[in-house]
Point group: C2
Chain length 329, copies 2
DNA sequence: CTCACAATATGAAACGTTACATATTCTGTA
DNA sequence: TACAGAATATGTAACGTTTCATATTGTGAG
């Protein structure tokens, strides 16, 4: 008996079952086929341990049941949660996930898209920073948290609304001297809107609101210095601080405590993201929680939608406020 | 002029450049070709925006330049770091990563392997819990942190050595009443060796060493109760606690402080993993640090090694001790 | 018992590559 | 000038599917 070295093919199954090639194909594509034929084919396939070769199928059909996920850094808890959500949602729909990590490098982002297009994925979900990314209009693309143009659908948290929510909470909790703190790259992103929303609430009430936007290449020193410079006789010039994300909020809390202030008694802090401690599951700070799972599911939905002709160009998902120890609730 | 609806193929490039199909193929496979021909082909390809179709190539060559990564949960910081490392290492070698998440479900693990095999990946890197996983010996497989059999190469941290290291450190720091605490699934894994290594050191010196292994379905209550039950007049029966991982160490620290003990003054704790706070970059506790990046690189190395005929069946990578606040250094 | 028609099985062509056997060109020598 | 042999270009046959036109079978009516 001849030893098979390579995997069995449809031809082998057809021979084993005593039917035509086309019939085997039909069985594996759920196309109606006589009951006895179907049984014979399934039997034979099981005996031979046959698996369809998705490369041959992909070549023929031009559909590969795979999508690329492009992320800057899967090590960050927000991104890893997103990756988990996207990967699961894709898997639930029978799609596999091709993961690419860009390390925030705009060039790597472009290369990823190139590379991934060559691999004939059915679509791309990307969270990128390159402002002039060259996106092939023929290949479905959904952008997370980053708006490009009306023709590129984007799903994001309601950043502006989240900023407003933070402002309203702080007001409710008795703050009168608000401050918005941002640290990030120079390229404008959706997260800028967090500050805009925050400020808008105070402006509307005729209240002053300080706001500072730092670049991340300078590190956190400028922020520490800024805070230290605004101490006035053991008292900080601000009593409600909204930070662009939880990571910053955590650091700011540390800085304030170094300055001898108590959080939340002397100053309250609200972050953004809703990250949770890996061991305890607690929030790191009071925060505006992004609906990570909904972000993931929605992107997958939009990517895989049958009729992609009139997708919304921007979907904003609602955020919520959850106290986490750095506010008086 | 005819509007092209689908992507250009090698045939188009050949026509455009006025050369034969085979010549185009050679150019894209770095097979020697006359300089002028090469130039003509490259030119034509650029004009047409040609990209090789990796599905056709994969069908023909039976190599796809892609590997599957199977993980239980990418949300856990250790796994996400591992994923990042594997993905990067694969990318550096020109391979793409197909990510599958199993949610610790043995059945899902088996399905993943099935699914992924159908996709004709060139190999699989898996961190799985199903003890009787059916691994196709024809498809390269590298297991992380889980030993199957001599024929399935495994790369893991030196868990036994890490346990010894923890014991030696605690001794050095003056502990005389050691305790090993584990929480995990019932299936035996490499991480059991951590406790074994820990205990061996004390046994060798003729010292007693308590050890408790809990199942994770029971939650942490039994551990809290156990600790509370070993308080004796404001003093704990143990002064050096080695926890199977950082997550447990963090919780144990909380429990001890709830019991009115100070860490590290009254009891010292060492964890395992070396996880770092996402915002500050600090360790969560004194710990035995796993070399995540080396784990990732080594698995990729072993997966992609040219000559896979005599791979080691187990590679143990060295761990290090780093103080992180729960020991007297 | 035929015949027409529906239902369904069949087999060949095509998808875009690579690899190999064959054809062509070029170089240097007799 | 002619020719051998190296070097390199050509074109065709796979790879394992799907799809579609064609062939076959089965059914019911006349």
């Amino acid at each position: 008996m001849k030893q098979r070295d390579s995997a069995p093919t449809m031809k082998d199954v057809a021979r084993e079952a005593g039917v035509a090639l086309g019939t085997v194909s039909k069985v594996f594509n759920d196309i109606p086929v006589g009951e006895d034929y179907r049984k014979r084919v399934e039997e034979a396939a099981r005996r031979l341990g046959y698996q369809v070769n998705s490369y041959a199928r992909g070549l023929k059909t031009n559909r590969t049941c795979s999508a690329a996920l492009i992320l800057p850094d899967i090590t960050h808890p927000f991104f890893s949660a997103l990756a988990q959500g996207v990967c699961s949602a894709l898997a639930a729909r029978g799609y596999r996930t091709i993961l690419s990590i860009t390390a925030y490098d705009p060039e790597a982002e472009q290369k990823c898209i190139q590379m991934v297009r060559q691999n004939k994925v059915d679509g791309i979900i990307g969270l990128t920073y390159n402002p002039e990314l060259d996106i092939d209009p023929r290949l479905p693309y959904v952008s997370i948290d980053r708006y490009f143009s009306p023709s590129v659908p984007c799903v994001a948290s309601d950043n502006f609304g989240g900023g407003q929510l933070a402002a309203e909470k702080l007001l409710e909790l008795g703050c009168t001297r608000p401050l918005f703190l941002r640290i990030g790259s120079k390229v404008p992103g959706e997260s800028d809107k967090r500050g805009d929303g925050f400020e808008s609430v105070f402006r509307q009430r005729g209240m002053a609101c300080a706001a500072l936007r730092f670049n991340d290449e300078d590190g956190l020193e400028p922020i520490r210095d800024f805070l230290a410079g605004h101490m006035d006789g053991g008292r900080l010039d601000f009593d409600g601080i909204f930070c662009v994300n939880d990571a910053l909020a955590v650091r700011v809390r540390d800085f304030l405590e170094e300055l001898g202030l108590r959080v939340p008694e002397d100053a309250q802090i609200i972050g953004f993201d809703g990250l949770r401690h890996f061991a305890t599951g607690n929030l790191y700070c009071s925060t505006i929680v992004q609906p990570v799972d909904r972000l993931a599911e929605t992107s997958v939905d939009m990517l895989l939608r049958e009729d992609r002709s009139n997708l919304p160009s921007l979907v904003c998902l609602p955020v919520t406020y959850v106290p986490g120890g750095t506010t008086k609730e």
